[in-house]
Chain length 133, copies 2
């Protein structure tokens, strides 16, 4: 089973920089949009959440299909979309394929959407510390 990897940002700064701090590059916006598009469906969001919060952080379709009024092939299709977007990885074990989230991918999206710039916040904290020292 092929492995999918998190899109690689051109630089660390590009990877973790909130979009409120500086304009996204065209390439980076394309990579991010592919991941957000995969999240733009309520079933896929719930699937991602069910897999991530499942005991031991991984789950097969057999574990989660009871939460949906959908066929197993439909659920498998949505899981494939999440996998191809680099948000999930998986491995076949016997009859079932087990899925788990890729924490680095989620964290990358979370950092990009942060409404405040953590670098600026750190700078403010440092400044305050200097003033009070």
């Amino acid at each position: 089973m092929s492995k999918h990897t998190v899109p690689i940002a051109a630089s660390d700064s590009e990877c973790c920089s909130p979009l409120v701090r500086e304009p996204l590059t065209t390439d980076w916006a394309g990579d991010l949009a592919r991941m957000f598009k995969a999240l733009g469906d309520p079933v896929r969001l719930r699937l991602l959440s069910l897999v991530a919060s499942h005991e031991s952080g991984e789950a097969c379709v057999c574990d989660i299909s009871g939460s949906f009024d959908l066929s197993q092939p439909t659920i498998s299709h949505h899981l494939k979309v999440l996998r191809e977007a680099g948000l999930l990885d998986c491995e076949r074990r016997g009859t079932w394929v087990y899925y788990w989230v890729i924490p680095a991918a989620l964290q990358q999206l979370s950092s990009v959407l942060a409404a405040t710039d953590p670098t600026a916040a750190d700078a403010n904290v440092s400044g305050a510390a200097l003033v009070s020292a």
Copy 2:
């Protein structure tokens, strides 16, 4: 010009709880998916970033259209999608409509995608502090 608001989570805990901690409810997944779907397009992501990082945190189409090889009506359409998703707000001033991001909406999405549970992290820090005290 109508104002759009950030979707309201059923509870504070639902609003800020990372999806890795507990399964998303169906309603909340629907609200979030609408916002992620709006972000699932490279042009809209770049627009959001350009508006957010623009001087004073707001911009009109006249400020940002030079960054795209697209017509102003097309850009206005994408801005409308972002506004209807509750990610941007706007106000007409004379000839132009000015847009700005809604920080609470971005932060809500960022918190939902956080790969680690900040509550758990706090608990660990508290635990460590107790041990070292």
